[in-house]
């Protein structure tokens, strides 16, 4: 009985630690976003909907990061990490319109070619996805060994 209670306390403590870690990660990520958005604000104001798109990206990314952190120790943690990497790749490709971003301000048409940036970002996203898949394989491998013992 006492052992069961201790086990339950340990789990609760572990979950509280996960929540704390997820909160810290989320706050740090949001903090970085706010600092960077201050630098980019003068440029982003010229591009309609740019700030909104970045905000949506940050919200979804932080959500997946927090959920992934809360499910740490289970296979879902790796699913959410893979989802995060996939979301980064797809959202960037969608928002950056294939790498060519354009806007028109007072009869002046402005075009920014971000294809190189997009390619590098997508490659990094793919690397993150590969890492998540490897982590999932490793996790299942370790679990199988654990069960065998």
């Amino acid at each position: 009985m006492a052992e069961e209670k201790r086990d339950s306390n340990d789990r609760l403590q572990e979950f509280a630690l996960k929540i704390l870690k997820a909160t810290i990660k989320g706050v740090v990520f949001c903090g970085i976003y706010f600092v960077l958005s201050m630098f980019l604000a003068p440029v982003l104001e010229a591009v309609p909907n740019a700030l909104q798109m970045i905000e949506i990206f940050v919200v979804v990314y932080v959500f997946l990061m927090i959920v992934g952190e809360l499910t740490k120790g289970s296979i879902f943690h790796h699913f959410f990490n893979a989802a995060k990497a996939l979301f980064s790749i797809l959202y960037l490709a969608f928002c950056l319109n294939g790498g060519i971003v354009g806007t028109t301000v007072q009869n002046v048409s402005l075009i920014v070619d971000l294809r190189l940036f997009l390619v590098v970002a997508m490659l990094l996203g793919l690397l993150g996805l590969a890492k998540s898949v490897l982590q999932a394989i490793n996790f299942l491998n370790e679990k199988t060994e654990h069960v065998r013992f």
């Binding site: 960077l36 980019l40 003068p42 440029v43 002046v108 048409s109 070619d113």
Partner: protein
């Protein structure tokens, strides 16, 4: 396996940080690039074409060099016929440096007149397509373009020959005085040699005259041409053939009937 995953994780994080910091600093430093377009000047090129010069000052106070600075001007008429195209290219503007360049564009009026003689006698609107391109941090291409119209002032706007008057009879010849009028709407001073040939009836040359006219820009010209013609060649009707010769262009004949 764990070491490999950790290595991938560290490498990915480092590359992400590098990419984001580089991208944001490159975009942020774009606000420290100054472009100053000076007052356009109109002159004459060595090959007798109209020369438009636009001084451009570019100050790069950003964190990175600017690559492939390019200004392109395309001038076309209302129907889309391209009259002229000019480009100015600067390969690199190093950080902390200021560069002054002159964007030059020439218009060959002779080539323009092959398209339509209206450009000599009637004002028009020309379409200008202006493109400015740079590579931020030598990596991120940015291009701004705009369209606007440029008024074309005709150098011989409303050229007309008035009613001919005959005087100074000397027995065999009379002097025919032909009033001449036009307005120089062009953006340059005009020095033109005008030659007039007078034909009587269908095609009989009866006299000719020549005058040199200097008309500053946006100024009307009122003058007269004098032609000595035989008394017996005076006719009720006929036509004038007018030829114009300037440093910019040669044009003729302009046929103006009389009578």
């Amino acid at each position: 396996m764990k070491i490999l995953i950790r290595m991938i994780g560290i490498a990915t994080t480092l590359f992400w940080i590098f990419l984001i910091v580089f991208f944001i600093s490159a975009v942020y430093s774009a606000k420290d690039i100054d472009f100053d377009f000076g007052v356009p000047q109109v002159g004459l090129s060595p090959d007798n074409k109209i020369l438009f010069s636009l001084p451009i000052t570019i100050g790069n106070k950003g964190y990175y060099d600017i690559g492939s600075f390019n200004v392109t001007t395309e001038i076309s008429d209302q129907e889309g016929f391209m009259i002229t195209r000019a480009s100015t290219f600067i390969p690199v503007i190093e950080k902390g440096r200021q560069i002054v360049a002159t964007h030059k564009d020439t218009i060959d009026i002779n080539a323009l007149l092959q398209k339509s003689q209206d450009y000599l006698f009637n004002d028009a609107e020309l379409e200008v397509h202006e493109t400015v391109g740079i590579k931020l941090a030598d990596v991120i291409p940015v291009q701004a373009s705009t369209n606007f119209t440029l008024p074309w002032g005709a150098p011989l706007y409303n050229f007309t020959l008035g009613r001919t008057e005959y005087s100074r009879f000397n027995g065999t010849y009379v002097t025919a005085t032909v009033p001449t009028y036009f307005e120089n709407h062009a953006s340059f001073d005009l020095a033109v040699i005008i030659r007039v040939y007078m034909y009587a009836g269908t095609n009989i040359l009866v006299g000719e005259g020549q005058t040199t006219v200097e008309t500053p820009q946006n100024t009307p010209y009122h003058g007269q041409m004098e032609l000595d013609i035989p008394v017996d060649a005076i006719a009720e009707s006929g036509h004038f053939e007018v030829y114009f010769s300037t440093a910019f262009f040669d044009f003729g004949p302009l046929v103006i009937p009389y009578g």
